[in-house]
């Protein structure tokens, strides 16, 4: 009993090839850059798009299986979908919106409206039942969209960036509510998001989707401890270097050499944390740091007491230093300098 999706699909520039499984009661967050195929994957699961090849199973039902020409229409899949822009029906009141799914599946009007009222009460919107969607705030509309999907008691709940359209103030509150609902949701839930905070707060596992492929899947801690893609590295804020390890040196494809502490030979990834990088104007002599790379300052971002310095060179890096150090060195963009890192500060793991 689970959602199992092997989705193969080509649409324009997107080449989607994904195999995931979500267990009942579990929330999987899909993270990834724009155009990675997150929304397309959700549309396939909901039945709003058909896969080219593969198979989607909800519990023991094959809802999309081109090999045997099986395709279940969205209304037959028991999949709830919360859209990014909520898409509440504007010609209906809030309670009619929530009752829509029940009415569509043949529940008598009075009973559907009563159930919808109960749902609205649960999210504290009972007094807005007779209001039209236009009168709602973003946070309220989001809650209505959620209970509208939940009111049909779906087996699978899909949320497409449910918090993206909210302002920062309401986002935290709505996230907390959403967490409560997802906790008590017994089916399988998939949440598409850009924000690792959402993934951390709401999801049990995280899948990183990049260019149509799942590049990493696991708990958020697992994924961020050992990033396998530039996207995750940027998310976590570390430098990710990929290359080949032999005899204590990781060589990148651009020709940079990174001296590392012992690591097995072969294709590897290395993390260089920005705060472990030291910057010096002149080539250091007799330093304990085994790595010295020449570079040019590309950009300086000040963040309170700290500054992030982007360095162009054979090995592009971002270093983090204090603002005091930045001012003492009088760094400007375009300045030449050296970045040094101790070999023991570099974490290496097989690619």
């Amino acid at each position: 009993m689970s959602l199992r999706a092997d989705v193969q699909l080509r649409r324009g520039a997107l080449d989607l090839s994904v195999d995931i499984e979500v267990r009942p009661g579990e929330v999987l967050a899909l993270l990834g850059p724009n155009g990675a195929g997150k929304s397309t994957l959700l549309r396939c699961l909901a039945g709003l798009a058909a896969v080219d090849a593969g198979r989607i199973m909800i519990d023991s039902n094959a809802v999309d299986d081109p090999a045997v020409a099986a395709f279940v229409e969205p209304e037959g899949r028991s999949v709830g979908f919360v859209f990014q822009n909520y898409v509440l029906f504007e010609h209906m009141t809030i309670v009619e919106n929530v009752a829509f799914g029940l009415r569509a599946s043949g529940t008598p009007k009075a009973r559907a409206l009563a159930t919808a009222h109960d749902w609205l009460k649960r999210v504290g919107l009972a007094e807005l039942a007779a209001v039209r969607p236009k009168a709602l705030s973003g946070g309220q509309a989001q809650r209505v969209a959620l209970v509208r999907a939940l009111a049909t008691s779906p087996r699978v709940l899909l949320l497409d960036e449910p918090l993206a359209a909210l302002d920062v103030g309401t986002r935290a509150t709505v996230r907390r509510d959403l967490h409560r609902h997802l906790e008590s949701f017994e089916g399988m839930a998939i949440l598409v998001t850009h924000d690792p905070v959402d993934a951390y707060a709401l999801a049990d596992r995280v899948a990183i989707l990049d260019a149509g492929r799942i590049v990493q899947i696991g708990t958020l801690a697992e994924v961020t401890a050992r990033p396998r893609s530039r996207y995750v590295a940027d998310l976590v804020g570390v430098n990710l270097v990929s290359g080949n390890v032999s005899e204590g040196v990781l060589a990148t494809s651009s020709g940079a050499r990174v001296v590392i502490a012992d690591a097995p030979a072969g294709p590897s990834l290395a993390i260089i944390r920005p705060h472990s990088i030291s910057l010096v104007r002149d080539h250091p002599e007799g330093s304990s740091a085994r790595n010295v790379w020449a570079g040019t300052v590309a950009e300086i971002d000040r963040l309170g007491e700290r500054a992030r310095v982007s360095i162009d060179g054979l090995l592009p890096l971002t270093a983090e230093i204090t603002v005091a150090a930045l001012e003492a060195m009088q760094l400007r963009s375009g300045d030449d300098l050296f970045a040094t890192v101790k070999a023991t500060d570099i974490e290496v793991y097989p690619a």
Partner: protein, 278 residues
């Protein structure tokens, strides 16, 4: 504020020549109406209007144009949906074919209908032989001729509305468990309602004014095929005063429809199509 003298503008900043040209255009449309009102035999107007022949023509016009509107909705909405939502080979050609009667001289349409549905027509001969059904020179023929010229007005209006409608509303309905038909009835139709109303009204107005295709395909028989425009044309030769009265009735109806449209639907339809989803 310094105003340039070289170009005269009105106080709201609209160039005077624009106002002048627009005023001439308005006059151009107003004068014929004024002419009719001027020459109308007001003392006998009621008598002319309540003459049997006039009432018959008016009733026939109403019945036929409403039937034509109904047929346009029944067949035109699915056609518009297909043109807007389904990509198929030759869609542009199909659209052009279905819109052709908008630009075709109605008389040509009538001739074409005659050779298609007439007793010797490619379809008409079988209608006659198998079902004993003859369309030319019958009231049904009037409805066919009016539908032929009126339906495109409904199709273009509804198709445009369907194209502008955000499909995620329909997607949302489907994921909530609604069938295609339920989704269409409860989500799509209300959303395109203003456009459907506007399109129906336009189609109805076009059917009401239909002349060329009707007289060619259905003839001019009082009581069965003589609609108001035909009656006006006939009266012009026998009784010009009555023609004026009938013409004014048609003008009044058209004007009322357009005014109602403007306030209720055109503006709303415009707002809905330009509205951005939050």
């Amino acid at each position: 504020m310094i105003r340039r003298r070289r170009r005269s503008t009105t106080r709201s900043g609209v160039p005077a020549w624009v106002v002048a040209l627009a005023a001439i255009a308005v006059l151009f449309f107003a004068l014929p109406v004024v002419g009719l009102v001027w020459r109308a035999p007001w003392s006998h107007a009621w008598a002319y209007l309540t003459e049997d022949s006039a009432l018959t023509a008016l009733r026939l016009s109403m019945v036929c144009s409403l039937w034509a509107t109904l047929l346009s909705i029944i067949f035109g909405v699915p056609l518009a949906w297909l043109l807007a939502r389904v990509q198929f080979v030759g869609r542009s050609a199909v659209r052009a074919l279905c819109m052709m009667s908008m630009v075709l001289p109605p008389v040509v349409g009538g001739v074409a209908l005659f050779f298609a549905l007439g007793r010797r027509g490619i379809v008409g001969q079988y209608l006659d032989r198998w079902f004993d059904l003859r369309l030319p020179f019958t009231t049904a023929g009037v409805v066919i001729a009016q539908t032929f010229v009126a339906m495109p007005f409904l199709v273009v209006t509804v198709e445009a509305a369907l194209r502008q409608l955000d499909t995620s509303f329909e997607d949302a309905a489907r994921t909530l468990g609604a069938s295609r038909w339920y989704t269409f009835r409860r989500v799509t139709l209300p959303a395109i309602g203003p456009a459907l109303a506007a399109g129906s009204a336009l189609a109805w107005a076009r059917a009401l004014g239909e002349f060329g295709a009707t007289i060619t395909f259905a003839g001019n028989f009082p009581g069965t095929t003589q609609t108001m425009p035909l009656a006006v044309y006939l009266a012009l030769e026998t009784n010009p005063e009555q023609a004026i009265v009938l013409a004014l009735v048609m003008i009044a109806i058209s004007f009322a429809v357009l005014v109602a449209l403007r306030d209720r639907w055109f503006i709303r339809a415009g707002n809905e199509s330009t509205r951005v989803q939050p």
